[in-house]
Amino acid sequence: MKNILIKQIGLILLLVIALNSCEDSIEGINQDPLAAINIDPALLFPQVIVSGISQPRTVEGNAVNMIAQQWSSIVGFGVFINPERYIISPNTTNNLWIGNYTTGLRNLQQVRALTERDNPSAINIIGQAKILEAFIYLNTTLFFEDIPFNEAIQVQTFPNPNFDTQETVLRALPDLIDEGLEALATPTDIVEGGDLIYGGDRENWIRFGNSLKLKILMLIANVDSASVQAAIQSTANQPLISTPSQVAKLDYTLEPENGNGIWKLLRDFNGSENDFWGGGAALLDIMNANNDPRRATYFDDVDGAYVPQLQGETGRTGFSPVSLNIIRPEMPDIYASAAETNFYLAEAALKGWISGDANTFYVAGIQASLDFYDGIPGEISASDKTMYLSSPRGTITGDSEADALRKIHEEIYISNFTRGLEAWTNWRRNKVPNFEIPEGSILGDENIRRYNVPLSELTTNPNAPQSLPALDVPMWFENE
């Protein structure tokens, strides 16, 4: 009996020991060995710039080249023809939304948090982050109009952010940019390698911030110029992007799988030839009328002529495709251009909002647009540049204000080639040039003005709008 008892006690002891050692093995193994708890914030920049900003702008935004009627789809594949006819895929709106908010803005918020915690003196990094944040909010509101801004990306305080009107967002963004500019005012540690835009060039970041601010103010001015006139003048006095070398852009690269997604579509689906996209009539009609030397940069000719294809039409030959000068692996995503900045200044000067000669800015804008292709495929010869600049197109001096304005708006439209969102935005702002109604459009006699907030937001956010405007309802900044 005693023997059995000892055996039993022994067994129980054995069990207890086994149990304890097993229990120890449970805790402390739940950390992912392939993830970091803490990193240098610079490592988040490529994610923000490539995945958060440029992939949405190029791959998803490619359809906007058609919506802006600069491009026209040659082939009848739904993914190309649908957006041209204003059928916007839920995947597209979703990818834009996720790219902007989740990939872009969240990681920028993490950049700021990590910097403030681990390297608080590196305020230049905060400045870079804030200017990128402003850029992302601008892109987002230009697609969706009303968006969360004041309550966005603060999950602890605002798990369900309220939406702000476009007016609120646009009027707040210059302040956000000012915070960024202030943080960039004196040199500190700055993100260099991960800064795929400027490689840590602080001066250029300041130019980017100011140019962005100018553009936002010009959008507000379209509705209420009085409120921003002073701000436009003070911004015009700041360093701005004025030469092609200062352009804010992401250059995709020749490195394998670092190429531009639009080019990849041709590579993977069409043997790197462009049978997919042709020139739009809204653009080519102006360029043809002015014998624009950029036509040969932008498009291939058909027997010496540049033939547009009407929006929404497909399946026919004889049209000018977008040139492979343009659609190439390194094709950049241009965030803010020297041409655009100069044209905004020209318009502001013309309207008397800023001091300075409107024609000087106008000429500088055209020059910047023509010079942009220097040293890259599609370079425009000096003689062609001179010819264009010396044509009636090269000046607004002597034009009536209306004619001058129209020229500025047409030239900004031409210069915004490959920048679908910017071209569409300027059309919505200026209604220049005249847009056609695409064949097969689902919006009747109207052109598209907006994308709708994706279902993913509507179903998860009780503070999201209950009903969405139709796609042809103008945005606030359109002043209609």
Binding site: L11, L34, L44, S51, N91, Q154, E257, D275, G315, T459
Partner: protein, 1055 residues
């Protein structure tokens, strides 16, 4: 004991009888089991006397009796048979398994064997012969129609494709709903891992790993349906448990060599019905102009009628000039190759008198699939043995090696050049498939592609065939120590590991992947389970018996993966990373452990009242440290009232009431608690425009897009069930009825959060879901007339899933497909198919008026809002198996009926949009008015006017009706009846066998998936699915390979 005693007694009696009645007739014969094997120890009694004998080691017996007497053959576990002595001196008897034997032993949780009578919950046990009546290569597929409480879905006709099973409905919104697989007491993996997280864009379904189990090794499959049954498995049992017990060497059996071979032909069960009148083109015009290159053609089936083209010639898609137009009716049908399956199995088993046993088995499966070049071969090698080491120590061990090679699995979904079904289905009717056979030129370049963005289908099938090889070991070893009287300790270790090596290729020149590329994906999974169980079994007195168990289980699961995606190849057909311009590596590692401590108490009063209570505490590595321990109990009661109340009736022979209540907890996946920064090697782009990091030489990290509730706790499933088992007419009719209700609360799910908060999801305890249902099984021995018998097994299941609570969110997408189509949980409803509907007229409040579909000014249906499109799960399911036996003949057939539920088919939609489906043919000049449609010119709340505008064209009509974006027209009622199985077998009688080297011999003809009846889904098998068994994408089909229908024969021989 009783058997042994009666055996001795009968021997003694037989001796006496022989002395007394020696002058009477001498009868002899052999007693065999259903498979023809001798059955030693069968009691043979002369009815009405106590005289008898028993069969010897070879199943032979001899007895003297007189003509007109009746012999009674009985053996535990088999039906007792009575045979009238006629003129014959030889009476051979085949004993039939008594499916409803009340003494049947059921293997329950942790391998604990319990008497079926004593169980307080519903289980289904399927025996090997019922499982393998008509051979399947995936054991799950063989369960179709055989049990209540389960829903089995074969995903597609791909060889080695997956089969999804749900036991008593979807128990969680987390996606972890597949049951736990247990082989001989040890959990093994049934993973269905996809190569890319996205299953919809060209996803390959390489199968659920439960298919590695050799069906020939299976003795029984027991399905533990409820939490009570499975409570001892702890947190992993919330989706139910499938317990597989493998065959062993049978006690009292000399070495037995068994050989079985099956060969069958597999054909598509259902192919689309095509129109055979209209060629390619648009609006009735033929518009393919080869001079325009690949973009010359817009649509496949909206060209002119072939009858209008007499004498008209054209340059065809392959550049042949002056070719007359022709319809090629059988292109698709001929494209699918003649498939076949052969399965050969050999086993050697036996047992010694001292109880040592062994079984060695080898099986080889060779399958050729419908997709050209596709095939599967599988080698199973299994060995198990038991050894009694001393009177106190017993050991067992088993090991299995499985190697499965699959080639040519076709992609499903869309946006990938390899979705073969879509390619072949959507080719114009005037395309000749014959030239496709030449798919490459002498340099390996693709030739004879049909233009547009479409590849030559043979090029895809031959040059881009993926290859998968899975090598797997699983096994267990156990030691049982009978420490003292009534007390034993079992220690058991189980291990399962497999390496899944996948190779996916896109050859250079693949349209859509022009520059070529490949993916190597290496997955290793391993699982170690250690059990220690102490059992004390004590008869307190004549009435009371108590069994108590205490034990612990330690389980570790590790998942490792290394995947390289290489793009832009230089040298064709050289799939080496060095030949690719870019290589994107992805590495993954997951590890989790669970420690469980449990106790089990069974109190048995007079064998008619049995109470079982269990408790288990789990410690999980995946939960926060202060919430990682969770306890859950179960209690069940079985009351055999016919015994308790001494009911002796010829009508009600047996009656039992049972009830149980249980709770099981569940943890979550590994590594979800910390907020981390993750190195990233790839960035996303729609339409396959993804790219890789580093970008311009810069590394990229991404912060977590999901937050986890720091106060995460285990989810809890509560289960209540009551049931009754009733045996009527001496158990000729046996009814098993169960009502159950399961509630899962605090379900751990990724709740989607507004992207604008910066995060896509929040992992937390939020949802509550319930499943309530009724299960009914009826087994009827309808006819027992001498050598003829007819049995019916019927099962019925009605399960109602309900989302009880979703916290603050109104709905939750469980899985999404294209164009916003998805599966979603909606509070208060069953799981819904969700997508865009046609526009409806609206009342003044802007609410849709359900039955008033709006059309536009061209009479074409308008796009409306995204709405729920109906329940995905069937309303109820039924299975019916009928078995006829006459002497050595056995005829068996199984039907499977599912009522209700919805299925979306893009295959159907695409055929209609393209003008290829039969219903798009006929007279296309007949511009009819779309019936029951309306217009509401004044907008919501205004007058609704019946539509009188004829459709603008038949093409426009189908464009609107079967629209890709507005999916309503592509959603169908998924009801179907499938004729699952038909088999006819013949077992040679021993009178013939005795003159051969065989111990037994059985031949049979068999067929599986013979036909579909009562289906509203045109063109495809309504059972198809895109997601594979591991995804929640139920009810959605896109580009699936047709499922198969099989006919063949088999032979089983024992030596």
């Amino acid at each position: 004991m009783k058997t042994k005693f009666s055996g001795i007694l009968t021997l003694l009696l037989a001796f006496v009888v022989q002395l007394t009645f020696a002058q009477e007739k001498a009868i002899s014969g052999t007693v065999t089991d259903a498979s023809g094997l001798p059955l030693p120890g069968t009691t043979v009694l002369i009815k009405g006397t106590s005289s008898g004998t028993s069969s010897d080691f070879d199943g032979k017996y001899a007895i003297s009796t007189s003509q007109g007497a009746t012999l009674v053959f009985s053996f535990v576990g088999y039906e007792t048979q009575e045979i009238l002595i006629g003129s014959s001196d030889v009476i051979n008897v085949t004993m039939v398994d008594d499916a409803e034997s009340l003494e049947e032993v059921v293997v329950t949780a942790l391998g604990i064997e319990r008497n079926a009578k004593s169980l307080g919950y519903g289980v289904t046990t399927i025996k090997s012969e019922d499982l393998n009546e008509v051979r399947e290569t995936n054991v799950l597929a063989a369960l179709n129609g055989k049990s209540s409480g389960i829903l089995v879905t074969n995903q597609s006709g791909n060889v080695g494709g997956s089969t999804r099973i749900l036991i008593r409905g979807n128990s969680s919104l987390s996606g972890t709903v597949q049951p736990l697989f247990v082989v001989d007491g040890v959990p093994i993996s049934n993973a269905n891992t996809s190569t890319f997280t996205d299953r919809i864009t060209g996803g390959f379904d390489f199968g659920n790993r439960g298919q590695d189990i050799n069906p020939d090794d299976i003795d029984t499959v027991t399905i533990l349906k409820g939490a009570s049954a499975a409570a001892l498995y702890g947190s992993r049992a919330s989706g139910g448990v499938i317990i597989i017990t493998t065959k062993r060497g049978k006690q009292g059996q000399k070495a037995n060599i068994s050989f079985s071979t099956t060969f069958r032909f597999d054909n598509p069960l259902k192919l689309p019905d095509f129109q055979n009148e209209y060629i390619s083109g648009d609006d009735g015009e033929y518009d393919f102009d080869p001079a325009l290159g690949p973009n010359g053609q817009v649509t496949s089936g909206w060209g002119p009628n072939i009858n209008t083209l007499n004498g008209v010639t054209h340059t065809d898609a392959f550049g042949n000039e002056n070719t007359p137009f022709r319809i090629f009716k059988n292109g698709v049908e001929d494209f699918w190759q003649n498939a076949h399956t052969s399965i050969n199995s050999l086993s050697v088993s036996g047992a010694a008198d001292n109880g040592d046993d062994y079984r060695l088995s080898l099986s080889y499966t060779d399958q050729k699939g419908l997709v050209p070049t596709s095939g599967l071969n599988r080698t199973n090698l299994g060995f198990n043995a038991g050894k009694t080491l001393s009177d106190k120590l017993k050991s067992r061990f088993g090991i299995n090696y499985v190697r499965t090679n699959t080639v040519g699995t076709a992609a499903g979904g869309a946006n990938d050049p390899n979705v073969l079904t879509t390619i072949v289905n959507l080719l114009p009717r005037n395309i000749d498939f014959t030239p496709f056979d030449q798919d490459v030129d002498e340099f390996g370049n693709q030739i004879n592609d049909p233009g547009g963005q479409t590849n030559n289908p043979y090029f895809i099938a031959r040059q881009n065939a993926p290859k998968v090889s899975v090598q797997r070991f699983f096994g267990n070893a156990s030691l049982q120590w009978l420490a003292f009287k009534d007390f034993d300790i079992l220690g058991r270790a189980g291990y399962d590991t497999f390496t899944d090596t996948r190779f996916l290729q896109n050859s250079i020149g693949t349209v859509g992947r022009e520059t070529g590329g490949f993916t190597d994906d290496f997955i290793n999974q391993r699982e170690l389970t250690l059990d220690l169980i102490a059992t004390y079994n004590k008869d307190i007195n004549d009435d009371f018996n108590i069994t108590t168990r205490a034990g612990m289980q330690w389980n570790e699961r590790v998942f490792e993966r290394l995947r390289n995606t290489a793009t832009v190849l230089t040298v064709p057909e050289l799939f080496d990373p060095g030949n690719a311009e870019a290589n994107t590596l992805f590495k993954d590692f997951r590890q989790r452990r669970i420690l469980g401590v449990f106790g089990d108490l069974t109190v048995d009063y007079k064998n008619w009242l049995i109470l079982n209570a269990t408790g288990r505490n789990d410690f999980s590595s995946t939960l926060p440290v202060d919430a990682n321990s969770f306890f859950y109990p179960s209690v069940s009661l079985s009351w055999i009232f016919t015994d308790a109340l001494n009911i002796e009736s010829n009508v009600l022979t047996y009656g039992k009431l049972r009830g149980s209540w249980a709770e099981v907890g569940s943890d979550t996946n590994s590594f979800l608690l910390d907020f981390t920064f993750n190195p990233d090697t790839a960035f996303f782009g729609q339409f396959g425009t993804d790219g890789t990091f580093p970008f311009d030489g810069q590394l990229a990290f991404n912060s977590d897009a999901s937050l986890t509730n720091p106060a995460l706790k285990p989810s809890i499933q509560q289960n209540f069930e009551i049931g009754t088992e009733l045996g009527f007419l001496k158990n000729r009719i046996f009814v098993d009825l169960t009502y159950y209700k399961n509630n899962t609360t605090d379900d751990i799910i990724f709740v989607p959060t507004p992207q604008t908060s910066g995060f896509s999801s929040f992992l937390t305890n939020v949802a509550e879901v319930s499943n309530e249902g009724i299960e009914l099984q009826i087994n009827a021995k309808v006819i027992r007339a001498g050598n003829f018998s007819w049995d019916i097994d019927y099962n019925f299941t009605k399960n109602e899933f309900r989302v009880e609570d979703l916290g603050d969110i109104p709905s939750l997408n469980l899985a999404t497909e294209f164009n916003g189509l998805g599966v979603r949980a909606v509070e208060g409803k069953e799981l819904q198919l969700f997508g865009r509907r046609w526009a409806r007229a609206q009342d003044a409040d802007g609410n849709d008026i359900e039955n008033q579909i709006l059309v536009d000014e061209d009479g074409i249906r308008l796009d409306g809002n995204q709405e729920n499109l109906g329940n995905i799960a069937p309303d109820f399911t039924m299975g019916l198996t009928s078995t006829f036996k006459y002497k050595g003949w056995r005829l068996s057939t199984t039907f499977d009926y599912r009522e209700g539920g919805k299925v979306f088919s893009n295959t159907v939609g695409a055929l209609r949009r393209a003008g290829l489906a039969a219903e798009t043919g006929g007279d296309r000049t007949n511009l009819f008015v779309d019936p029951n449609t309306f217009t509401q010119p004044g907008g919501p709340g205004t007058e609704v006017i019946p539509n009188t505008t004829p459709i603008s064209s038949v093409q426009d009509y189908w464009g609107g009706f079967a629209s890709a974006g507005t999916v309503e027209g592509n959603v169908f009622d998924a009801t179907f009846i499938k004729w699952r199985e038909l088999s006819l077998t013949y077992t040679f009688p021993s009178s013939i066998i005795d003159r051969t080297p065989f111990k037994s011999l059985q031949i049979g003809a068999q067929a599986r998936n013979l036909a579909i009846f009562n289906s509203d889904v045109p063109h495809i098998d309504p059972e198809s699915g895109l997601g594979g068994s591991g995804s929640q994408l139920d009810g959605i089909e896109r580009g699936g390979i047709p499922s198969t229908s099989s006919y063949g024969f088999n032979l089983i021989a024992n030596f």
